[in-house]
């Protein structure tokens, strides 16, 4: 159900399974609410990655259920109440292992895509 539909075909869709990692990574420096999070991911990716909000909230709630992030209601000065998420200790641990896994994966894929280059670069 996650990532259902092709509503945002003009933007690159986030690779399945990487959204969790992106959320954890983005929360690493400061707690954020859902909207700020989606904006941050977009900005940090140079406007290339766009989070489908249909996937964002399920992902946030799933991560919360797993205990990797924690949520808290905060009142903003001039707006509605906001649900702010922050990274937990186990979430940080998980992020580290995810990141190294991702690194291995991208290296491997890069190796397959550019076999000659791989040799010269490494």
């Amino acid at each position: 159900m996650i990532g259902r539909g092709n509503r945002y075909q003009n933007r690159t869709e986030i690779l399945q399974g990487t959204l969790d990692m992106l959320i954890l990574q983005t929360l690493q420096w400061a707690p954020r609410h859902g909207y700020a999070l989606s904006k941050a991911i977009r900005t940090n990716s140079g406007e290339i990655l766009k989070v489908d909000t249909g996937s964002l909230y399920p992902a946030l709630h799933r991560l919360e259920r797993k205990g990797w992030i924690a949520a808290e209601w905060k009142t903003s000065e001039l707006g509605p109440r906001l649900r702010v998420y922050r990274l937990t200790k186990t979430g940080r641990k998980h992020l580290i292992s995810e990141r190294s896994r991702w690194q291995r994966l991208t290296t491997a894929i890069a190796g397959i895509l550019n076999p000659a280059k791989k040799v010269s670069e490494t």
Binding site: R4, G34, Y35, T53, G54, P58, G79, R81, L82, R83
Partner: protein, 879 residues
């Protein structure tokens, strides 16, 4: 932060708030970049996408989706069932009967076989223990000296628990009544872990010495009832069997002793055995096998290890005491097979009942399944629409199973209620003896409830799956297009419904055959001659032992009473005998020696005998083949004599006439003066066995039963007899006066119970199957109104239509009977020893079951057939 299920509503609101906040922020940002409010709101919404979908997918991650679905299904199911109360009531009634029958039998099995003594701790570690004798099929008692040796030598046994049932007349104030009590070893209460609420139990040593410890512990019921709950009861005395006993303890409420079938009212230590049992002092007599006992094995010891050790000790005893113990062994039994109380007698019946109630349940489920099928037809449109708007088939299946679960949950609740009402019903099937009702409580504990819940789940699956299979076949396009009756649900649906009826008919046929077989064997048992007259002979007990008579007094009392009874008008003859055949007590038995008979090695001929007075054979109607009856002349001063039965004559004298020959009984030589025809002694079902009689006067016993040959009925005789007894001793309470036929009937009451139960449940099954058949036929008729009308328009007469419908119904029945016949042929053998002189393949039983089934199905089909015959062709074709 995780929300429990019931706070879901609040959580939903929070999710909504969270997403609204997101939209608000996005909108505000869009406005800041110069859009109008309307444009901003639109672009924010557009950017976000489907809010409802996002919310739903998020909710799915909360993980309690199935619970929400379930609660939805349950609510919807309740609504659906409330909408058709007639259907629901019928379905629940069927299930209540089906599950109730199961729960009731479970509760009996639990209360009688598996947890018979609720107050006793760790019943699962108890085993029954009896003696065995080579060449004898049944168990025997154990002698006290043997038991003491076992206790000394068995290291794996924690305790030997002696308990022997006996009855006595209890006179408190001016009321005398027969009461059941137990003779127990001194460790009894400690070993079973039940402790008195007042006073004490027995202390070590109280079970030794001849009549040395006249103390008794009484039951709570006796204390509350007869002693009016006297708080000062301890230390008071009560006369029991003529001996003053000191009441030393009162047992707690709900403790009835350890005998399946009767509630014990008092307990005395084994040292007092002679006071209550006839036959002298037995604690030092190794040949007096009177003890019924249980053992508790040490923790971790298996019954097999226990048996091995006990057998080894028994073998040593055999070697050490060949005169009394040759060929004797000791055997352990699981509690539910206890041979010396009603657990053993009811076991085969209860086993059969367990099978029978499964049948009833299946039939009930088939009925409910059929009802659901009809309804699933009516709900086909609903199902189709739900499928069409995107419900998964698994979700529909869940819905149907939920409805089945609601029905069977109600059925299970009703069933447990039925079981609760029926838990004491088994007692009603047994006649009260001596005015005392039996005690056979069912036990509804967590195990029974759990089993019933299991049955309920099975029922759910059975009844829910039938319509589920059907709805799985719904063809969306076809069903939505053609929503008129009679098109969908043709062959497939009819096939399932007919199949269900076929199953019902065959199962009830099996039950009918079983009931027929049991009925026939009961008939045979009760009418087959036991070898003595069953009519015109009355029997009663004159409780001289419990009234405290000593031997000389008892002798003169018996003589005087006999004279008076013989003088009563209508009395043809009367005689005393120590034991009534087919009663609960045990005959005396003895090792014998016969002149000229060399027993095979390893066998010690042991034969049972009865001590009887003059005219016994004439009174009982046991024919003498040769020789003479005992007379008054055969008394203490005369030469010792005996009479043998035909089997004994044939076995030990090998066809020679034994009259004038000698037989040695308990070391005394007796001359055979008569040969009597064989009769039944302990059970109607026994095969002929050697047996002999000795004169009561030469082997006196105070506890003798009185037999009276008279055409008068028992009540008339009882009045006259009571008068005579009271003339002699006003303090004597007479036991009930019964005919020997009644004695036979009582000894065969387990068969009676089996017949009644299988008969009742067979009738129930038949009724359910008939309803099922009726339902299918009338539904078929209502569905094929058009076809019937067409046939009529083309010239078929009402008789033709009547015949058409009837023949369809009968074809179903025939199929069911055929199937049931095959099953019955395979299953009736399981009735095993409940059958008496009836073949499991008895044609009469099968024939009458066929007849009953045919009549029932004709009755079931007639109404629909009649309706079919009255079809108005014009209307049927127009509609």
């Amino acid at each position: 932060m995780s929300f429990p299920f019931w706070r879901r509503k609040r959580r939903n609101e929070e999710l909504n708030e969270e997403i609204q906040a997101h939209l608000t922020l996005a909108e505000r940002e869009a406005m800041e970049s110069g859009q109008s409010q309307r444009e901003a709101r639109f672009s924010a919404r557009h950017e976000f996408g489907n809010v409802g979908l996002a919310e739903e997918v998020t909710r799915d991650t909360w993980g309690s989706r199935w619970l929400v679905d379930l609660s939805q299904d349950v609510r919807f199911g309740f609504r659906i069932l409330r909408r058709s109360p007639g259907f629901s009531a019928l379905a629940i009634l069927c299930l209540t009967l089906g599950i109730g029958a199961n729960a009731a039998v479970f509760s009996w099995v639990e209360g009688i076989l598996f947890r018979p003594y609720p107050a006793v701790t760790h019943q699962e570690q108890l085993l029954a223990i009896t003696g065995t004798a080579r060449g004898e099929s049944g168990p025997t008692g154990i002698s006290w000296p043997d038991l003491l040796d076992l206790r000394r030598n068995c290291t794996l046994v924690d305790s030997f628990i002696v308990t022997k049932i006996m009855g006595t007349t209890l006179s408190i104030g001016d009321r005398a009544e027969v009461t059941a009590g137990s003779i127990v070893s001194a460790n009894y209460f400690d070993a079973i872990g039940v402790h008195p609420i007042l006073g004490r139990g027995f202390v070590p040593g109280e079970d030794t010495g001849r009549n040395a410890h006249p103390v008794t512990v009484i039951s709570y019921q006796l204390w509350k009832g007869r002693f009016k709950g006297d708080p000062q009861i301890i230390g008071k005395t009560q006369r029991l069997s003529g001996v003053l006993h000191t009441i030393v303890g009162v047992m707690p409420e709900g403790f009835y002793g350890t005998f399946v079938g009767w509630a014990m009212q008092f307990w005395v230590p084994a040292s007092m055995e002679e006071t209550f049992g006839a036959g002298g002092y037995k604690l030092e007599d190794r040949s007096a096998r009177w003890i019924e006992a249980y053992v508790r094995l040490k923790p971790g010891v298996t019954p097999r290890q226990g048996q091995e050790e006990i057998s080894a000790v028994a073998e040593r005893l055999e070697a050490a005491y060949p005169d009394t113990n040759r060929g004797r062994g000791i055997k352990l039994w699981p509690l539910w097979q206890t041979p010396f109380n009603n657990a053993g007698t009811l076991l085969p019946t209860l086993e059969i009942m367990l099978a029978v109630v499964v049948f009833v349940l299946l039939i009930a489920c088939a009925n409910v399944g059929n009802l659901l099928l009809v309804r699933s037809f009516a709900r086909r449109h609903e199902m189709t629409v739900r499928l069409a708007i995107g419900a998964g088939r698994s979700r529909l299946l869940k819905q149907l199973l939920t409805e089945g679960l609601i029905l069977s949950a109600f059925g299970a609740a009703g069933g447990l209620l039925v079981a609760y009402w029926c838990r004491h019903a088994l007692v009603l099937l047994f006649p009260a003896r001596g005015g005392v009702a039996m005690h056979l409580p069912g036990e509804i504990d967590w195990r029974v409830v759990a089993l019933s819940a299991g049955v309920c789940l099975i029922a759910t699956l059975l009844i829910g799956l039938v319509p589920a299979i059907q709805s799985a076949k719904i063809d969306l396009a076809g069903a939505l297009k053609a929503d008129s009756a009679g098109v969908v649900g043709g062959a497939g649906r009819a096939w399932v419904r007919s199949g269900l009826v076929l199953v019902q008919v065959s199962l009830s046929f099996v039950l009918l055959v079983g009931a027929g077989l049991l009925m026939q064997s009961l008939q045979k048992i009760r009418t087959s001659s036991p070898g003595f007259s069953t009519h015109g002979v009355l029997e009663t007990v004159v409780p001289l032992v419990s009234a405290g008579y000593d031997a000389p007094r008892a002798q003169s009392f018996q003589d005087e009473l006999l004279e008076r009874v013989k003088a009563l008008p209508g009395v043809e003859s009367a005689a005393f005998g120590r034991m009534t055949p087919l009663s609960y007590g045990s005959f005396s038995s003895t090792p014998i020696a016969v002149d000229g008979y060399q027993p095979p090695p390893e066998e010690q001929p042991i034969v049972q005998y009865n001590e009887v007075g003059p005219d016994y054979f004439a009174t009982m109607g046991i024919p003498l083949v040769s020789g003479r009856e005992f007379t008054r002349a055969d008394d203490e001063k005369a030469a010792l004599v005996a009479a043998v039965n035909e089997t004994m004559a044939a076995k030990y004298w090998r066809g020679k006439n034994p009259i004038g020959e000698r037989v040695q009984v308990k070391g005394r030589w007796m001359q055979v003066v008569g040969v009597a025809k064989d009769s039944k002694y302990e059970s109607v079902r026994e095969t002929p066995k050697p047996f002999f009689y000795v004169p009561l006067r030469q082997n006196f016993s105070r506890g003798a039963d009185l037999f009276i040959r008279t055409p008068l009925n028992a009540e008339t005789m009882a009045t006259a007899l009571t008068r005579e007894v009271h003339t002699l001793d006003p303090g004597l309470a007479l036991y009930e006066v019964i005919t020997l036929q009644e004695q036979v009937d009582r000894s065969t009451s387990p068969q009676m119970v089996a017949v009644t139960l299988v008969g009742v449940l067979g009738g129930l099954a038949l009724l359910l199957a008939t309803i099922g058949l009726y339902g299918v036929m009338s539904y078929a008729v209502s569905q094929s109104a058009r076809e019937l009308g067409l046939r009529m328009a083309l010239g078929a007469g009402s008789v033709n239509l009547l015949r058409l419908v009837l023949s369809r119904g009968l074809a179903l029945t025939a199929g069911g009977v055929l199937l049931g016949g095959v099953v019955a042929l395979a299953l009736t053998r399981l009735l095993g020893n409940l059958l008496y002189r009836v073949s499991p393949y008895d044609p009469l039983a099968f024939g009458s079951a066929l007849a009953v089934m045919t009549i029932a199905s004709l009755a079931a089909c007639f109404l629909p057939a009649w309706r079919a015959a009255r079809t108005d062709p014009a209307r049927a074709l127009r509609d």
